[in-house]
């Protein structure tokens, strides 16, 4: 268990069958990401970076190989175990924000709270505190269509943090934002890494954005091409899991 990191992929492959042709989206990936690391996954489109993210977030079960999160093999979990595991361990940030259009900012942030069974009385205070943290305390009751792109993404970040997850995954988080809003979002991510010691996984094809991470993983044709040294988390100064706030 030790030194396996918060995320460990062992021989992970994902095959798609399209007609008679089989496409290897992931081809025997071995990867360890340490608790508290800030990692960017880069590569051209079709390189498998989105599939890699899907597998790590347990949204997709790999064809073969193991995906260990916190030392637990997620490929053997049932659907409901996976769902609740995902809800509590992983916070998602998307390129297209994926806010529910008919809910206001506060309700959007509260969505993971009711899904994951957080007691009712805790939900609103927690969501309000998070919105305040991302600087949207005066936008709580606005619906997504009344918010700018940067504001929407900050609501999404607040939502990703709602369950206080150890891992934050961001899939092209600045892709739909102007450079100023994008920079602000990247700043928030850096802060989550530095101040809160969360594990950040950033998928991007933008070199400039990818550079913000401590470690960069390049993918091509479903393989990691900058094969990093045998990654031993504790030797590199990373703890096994992030210290909880408060």
């Amino acid at each position: 268990m030790k030194d396996k990191g918060i995320i460990s992929l062992i021989g992970v492959s994902k095959l798609y069958g399209i007609g008679d042709v089989t496409i290897k989206a992931l081809d025997g990936i071995d990867l360890t990401i340490c608790a508290g690391e800030y990692v960017s996954i880069m590569g051209p489109s079709g390189s498998g970076k989105t599939t890699l993210l899907d597998v790590i977030t347990t949204m997709m079960i790999p064809t073969s190989g193991k995906v260990l999160i916190d030392g637990i093999d997620t490929t053997r979990m049932s659907n409901s175990e996976l769902a609740s595991f995902r809800g509590k361990k992983i916070g998602f940030i998307f390129q297209t924000f994926n806010l529910l259009p008919k809910l206001n900012a506060l309700e959007n942030v509260m969505t993971p709270l009711w899904i994951n069974g957080v007691p009712r009385e805790e939900r609103e205070p927690r969501a309000k505190a998070l919105l305040k943290e991302v600087g949207l305390e005066d936008r709580m009751f606005n619906r997504p269509n009344q918010l700018s792109g940067g504001q929407k993404q900050r609501v999404a970040i607040a939502r990703a943090l709602a369950m206080d997850p150890e891992i934050i995954v961001a899939d092209e988080p600045t892709g739909n934002l102007d450079s100023k809003s994008g920079a602000l979002v990247m700043e928030v991510l850096s802060k989550l890494h530095k101040d809160e010691k969360r594990t950040i996984l950033l998928v991007t094809h933008d070199e400039g954005i990818g550079k913000k991470a401590e470690r960069r993983i390049f993918l091509k044709d479903g393989r990691i091409i900058n094969h990093d040294e045998k990654h031993v988390c504790q030797l590199n100064g990373y703890g096994k899991s992030k210290p909880k706030k408060g």
Partner: protein
């Protein structure tokens, strides 16, 4: 892990989603409303008919045996294959448990009033015994008086005879000729008052005493129907069996139809029940169409909300939770449609009973909690069944595909 994944949040979210769905939900509701309204109104009217029939029989008394010459028929007065004689009646009077034998004689005749002639039907019985029915609500007199004992000249006439049969109203104390014999109208029967056996309306019937009847019809008289009363209700079944036995011994099997009032009630109600069931079945078909409407709306809704479903899965919602959200939404459409349908259905049945009463048919719509509760449960059930397929579709969506669905 809660397998069914139903909690307060899931319920609340389902309701919120419904409120947001707008016009499609309302249109879907209409389908359910029509189906449930049809079922509820038909059940309510059908049950009202049952109650009305039962009340008539209660008025008649549950210790009554109906004896109709001829094979079984529901038409009331005898399609006589045989003629019962006075000796038969005396024999019936001697059967254990029977307190009273009341033969009713029926005949057709011509009535003449102020040189106008018209056909009428006559019911006759011993005048003293007519009061037995008078007491129970039969032959209630609206004007004038009941027949008196041994009244060989007085007659009671139905409402229609009084008002409509002749160009001038025929009122009490007027003299008429029946088959050329003079009679005096002593009373007019109330319009709503029932006839014997629930058959043709008393409005066109003339009632007279046996003595009066004998002035027109001579020779050996044979009753069209005989009522036998027993001392207690407990005697009815045994006495009825004995009556049948005694008469069949004389006239052969199937020569006579004997009902206790309970038996008659049961057979009438079973016919009514079949008719009601048939009509409710037709209503049920419209509810099936409503259910298909729910299914259609839910499938569309699942498609529209594909991305939302993907997001919820990413945020930690299990397949079961998604399933329950959609299943509950469909059930709520059923329940809300059902509730509105119940109100409309009962309103319709009240309307029917008002119209019925206005045209002289006393019917009270039955507004029973069991109909309402049953209809509500049924409509929720239909909603839920209709929601199963769309909900499974939603639950089975691949989260990755759903999340990136455009």
């Amino acid at each position: 892990m809660n397998f069914m994944a139903v909690d307060r949040d899931v319920v609340e979210v389902s309701i919120k989603n419904l409120r947001r769905a707008g016009i499609r939900t309302y249109l879907t509701l209409i389908g359910v409303i029509i189906g449930i309204a049809a079922i509820v109104s038909l059940l309510s009217v059908g049950q009202g008919l049952n109650v009305a029939v039962e009340e008539q029989f209660q008025q008649l008394g549950s210790n009554t045996i109906f004896i109709i010459p001829g094979a079984a028929s529901m038409s009331g007065s005898g399609s006589a294959g045989i003629s019962l004689t006075q000796a038969d009646l005396d024999r019936l009077g001697g059967i254990k448990g029977i307190s009273d034998v009341i033969p009713i004689y029926a005949g057709a005749a011509t009535m003449t009033y102020r040189n106008e002639k018209a056909g009428i039907s006559i019911y006759a019985m011993e005048a003293g015994k007519a009061n037995i029915f008078g007491d129970t609500g039969f032959m209630q007199v609206a004007e004038g008086r009941m027949l008196s004992n041994n009244d060989s000249e007085g007659i009671l006439i139905g409402d229609s005879i009084s008002k409509d049969l002749f160009s001038r109203p025929l009122e009490t104390r007027k003299i008429v000729l029946i088959n050329g014999v003079e009679y005096k109208v002593v009373g007019v029967i109330k319009k709503e008052s029932q006839s014997f056996g629930g058959g043709s309306s008393s409005n066109t019937t003339v009632y007279m005493s046996l003595e009066a009847y004998k002035r027109i019809f001579t020779g050996e008289l044979s009753p069209g129907i005989v009522f036998a009363k027993t001392y207690t209700r407990a005697d009815v079944e045994d006495a009825a069996a004995e009556v049948k036995k005694v008469l069949e011994k004389n006239y052969g099997e199937k020569s006579i139809t004997v009902y206790s009032s309970d038996q008659l009630l049961t057979s009438i109600n079973s016919v009514l029940g079949i008719v009601t069931l048939f009509l409710v079945g037709i209503g049920g078909i419209s509810l099936i169409v409503g259910g298909i409407g729910i299914m259609n709306a839910m499938i569309t809704s699942v498609m529209e909300r594909t991305k939302e479903i993907g997001l919820m899965k990413a945020l930690g919602a299990s397949n079961n939770k998604i399933l329950m959200i959609f299943l509950l939404e469909a059930s709520f459409i059923g329940a809300i449609g059902g509730a509105i349908g119940i109100v409309i259905g009962f309103s319709l049945s009240i309307l029917v009973s008002l119209i019925g009463t206005a045209v002289g048919f006393s019917l009270v719509a039955y507004i029973g909690p069991e109909i309402a509760v049953g209809a509500l449960i049924f409509s929720m059930f239909v909603g839920m069944i209709s929601g199963i397929l769309p909900a499974i579709n939603a639950a089975k969506l691949d989260p990755v595909v759903a999340l990136r669905y455009e």
